[in-house]
């Protein structure tokens, strides 16, 4: 079907570097997107994710790149309008002087598709985004969510090798955003197209993606399935970005089969290394636990295999469905999210968690 079907790579970037003046926006970034994949590029503003998108779409030419391939074709020197990829813009950029259906068929019009055919293809695309009944509306007559769907239909109608989505849900309110996430996944499944999705929201990344690329300061911090990033962060940055509340510094003292032992001030805890062989005995490491995996009580836990530290209760905030508690230990402050009120206590007590819920990563 296409030149790259043998290796199934729709997008291939190797060693991309981009600078704006003296500021390095992309620092040696390499990535691939497989055919039909929902790939999310996640990062805060200034992480380089938008620069990456602009390089792929051709709005910007890289300062240096070894290869930039779309569907197996090197497009490093190809202008934007000749690249086989389209973008759903953050603010949609729907043409205000055209009707909904004229917007959607624009990509076909400039490719010289006959009027009757492009109209019918545009209408069936509007069918997919459930807007066929509004095909003759003007853009300003549509709601935010509808504009979003028109922008999506307009981008996938020319059947690009990859579809770039630049924070497409950023301008929508929360309820609509969650609905659109489901709809986007459904449309992705239906079209079987390669989606490259840019966002700063870890929630969107976790919900929709097959694979997530987390970027920071122009570099890739970690690549993996949503669960990999969520459960096995390989660095403090990733753990923090993915919302791991408790991050303590320690020193690796022992490699032992499934688990490693880490010294935290005056106590030791056991946990699993997020990546095998990423830290040697004696090296500084970070220990990370999610707040909802930590239990608390006045007495130490009965099970001796659990990690347990002693401390004093610092604060307890009632949040309706759960309690947010902080306990001050010699190793640092631990935050816990308690779902049952049975474990309430005052003054000094214990916090404990399972070694499986304790991630160890290089500092």
């Amino acid at each position: 079907m296409n030149k790259s079907s043998q290796d199934g790579l729709m997008l291939e970037i190797s060693h991309a570097v981009h600078r704006y003046g003296t500021f390095t926006a992309l620092n040696d970034v390499s990535l691939v997107a497989r055919a039909g994949e929902f790939l999310t590029i996640l990062g805060e503003s200034g992480s380089g994710k938008t620069t990456l998108l602009r390089l792929i779409s051709g709005l910007e030419h890289p300062y240096a790149v070894e290869a930039l391939k779309l569907d197996g074709v090197d497009v490093t020197r190809t202008p934007a309008h000749q690249r086989n990829c389209t973008t759903v813009f953050q603010h949609y950029a729907l043409f205000p002087h055209m009707s909904v259906v004229e917007n959607v068929e624009y990509g076909l019009k400039v490719r010289g598709v006959a009027p009757a055919e492009r109209r019918s293809r545009a209408l069936s695309a509007l069918e997919i985004v459930r807007l066929a009944n509004k095909h003759d509306r003007r853009i300003h007559q549509l709601s935010g969510g509808e504009r979003q769907r028109v922008a999506l239909a307009r981008a996938f109608v020319p059947q690009p090798a990859i579809l770039l989505l630049d924070e497409p849900l950023g301008a929508l309110d929360e309820k609509l955003r969650i609905e659109m996430q489901i709809e986007l996944m459904e449309i992705h499944r239906q079209l079987g197209m390669t989606f490259v999705y840019i966002t700063h929201s870890q929630e969107e990344a976790l919900t929709m993606s097959d694979r997530v690329i987390l970027m920071t300061k122009g570099r890739i911090a970690q690549v993996g399935a949503p669960a990999d990033l969520f459960d096995r962060p390989e660095s403090r940055f990733v753990a923090d970005f993915m919302g791991m509340e408790n991050l303590l510094e320690g020193r690796l003292v022992e490699h032992g089969g499934e688990h490693v032992t880490v010294a935290l001030d005056d106590t030791t805890v056991r946990g699993r290394l997020s990546r095998q062989g990423s830290a040697a005995v004696g090296s500084k490491v970070i220990v990370g636990m999610r707040a909802e995996r930590i239990s608390m009580g006045a007495e130490p836990p009965p099970d001796a295999t659990l990690n347990s530290v002693r401390g004093t209760l610092r604060s307890s905030i009632y949040r309706g469905k759960y309690l947010d508690r902080e306990i001050e230990t010699t190793a640092g402050v631990l935050k816990a999210r308690i779902w049952s009120s049975s474990s309430e206590f005052e003054g000094s007590g214990y916090a404990w968690w399972r070694p499986e819920d304790c991630v160890v990563m290089p500092a």
Partner: protein, 304 residues
């Protein structure tokens, strides 16, 4: 009128309370009628009257009109239309690329400010004094001819540089360039770059982006530019008088001399011709654009 209502809610603008939109529209219509439409009606009516021994005879007659058709003044109308349309077309072809460059390509803010300032110069210098300078340059003994003679490129001075249609055209292009550039530039500046990026992203090459995105979105500015250029060109008299030297007779000039000779009905009839010609041209313009782009693009308000 939505903004007028919004303003009434602000305590700062008390005046707005006494100026409801229900009054504003009729007030505008009435004053516009008195100030602009009424004189036009009077002018048209005047062309059917006659002057006898410096007095107006209030007795309807077609004498003035038959005289215009019989005499050679008829050719003046055609010539004026031809020159006005030619200059408008030339200005459009020159101004659009220039405005596009200034709005979308020119990155330097200071350069842009300088160009805008330079373009406003024609507005604050008297037209006659600007035009008369060209005489010394285009004259038989003027700058260009001397230069070409000295360089040995010509053996005898070029006669048609001054007091010719060429000279009139030449003078007009400079005078009316800003009138065409400014409205187009303003409408181009308002086009969000995202639309242009989106067009390219969807596969539109630069020409298609120009044709399908930039031109339709800039259409209100283009129409305004055409009107601001064409209307004063129909009444132009400085260039034909100064650079045409009596050889290029245009309507504006004819009206002027008719007024000086106190032939008011003739002046009125010639003015009527200008008004009718402009009206017809505007209708044709609106129809042409309306058919190509759909009526909405002409007076559209871009809403996001």
């Amino acid at each position: 009128m939505g903004t007028a209502q919004d303003e009434t809610r602000r305590p700062a603008s008390r005046l707005a309370d006494y100026w409801p939109s229900g009054l504003a529209v009729p007030a505008f219509m009435i004053s516009w009628s008195i100030l602009v439409l009424l004189p036009i009606v009077i002018i048209v009516a005047f062309s059917f009257l006659q002057m006898k021994s410096y007095r107006v005879v209030y007795e309807p007659t077609l004498a003035t009109w038959t005289n215009i058709i019989v005499s050679e003044r008829w050719f003046t109308v055609v010539r004026t239309l031809r020159i006005a349309l030619t200059i408008t077309a030339i200005e459009l072809l020159l101004a659009f690329p220039f405005a596009l460059w200034m709005a979308k390509r020119c990155r330097s803010k200071s350069l842009k400010a300088m160009i805008v300032t330079l373009l406003t110069i024609p507005f604050f210098l008297d037209m006659s004094s600007r035009i008369i300078v060209w005489r010394s340059i285009l004259d038989v003994n003027g700058g260009i001819n001397s230069l070409l003679l000295n360089l040995g490129l010509i053996d005898a001075p070029i006669q048609w540089l001054l007091y010719s249609e060429f000279a009139v055209h030449f003078g007009m292009i400079g005078s009316y360039f800003p009138a065409m550039v400014f409205p187009i530039f303003t409408s181009l500046v308002l086009i969000d770059d995202e639309y242009i990026h989106a067009s390219g992203d969807l596969g539109g090459n630069p020409l298609q982006t120009l044709r399908y995105i930039i031109l339709p979105l800039a259409m209100p500015g283009i129409v305004a530019g055409i009107i601001f250029t064409l209307v004063p060109l129909m009444a132009a008299f400085v260039e034909p008088r100064m650079l045409g030297g009596g050889f290029v007779n245009l309507l504006g000039d004819s009206i002027n001399s008719a007024l000086q000779e106190l032939k008011y009905p003739t002046a009125a009839a010639l003015s009527t011709i200008v008004i009718v010609a402009l009206g017809v041209l505007m209708v044709v313009l609106v129809k042409l654009i309306g058919r190509r782009e759909g009526n909405t693009s002409l007076f559209q308000v871009v809403q996001r």
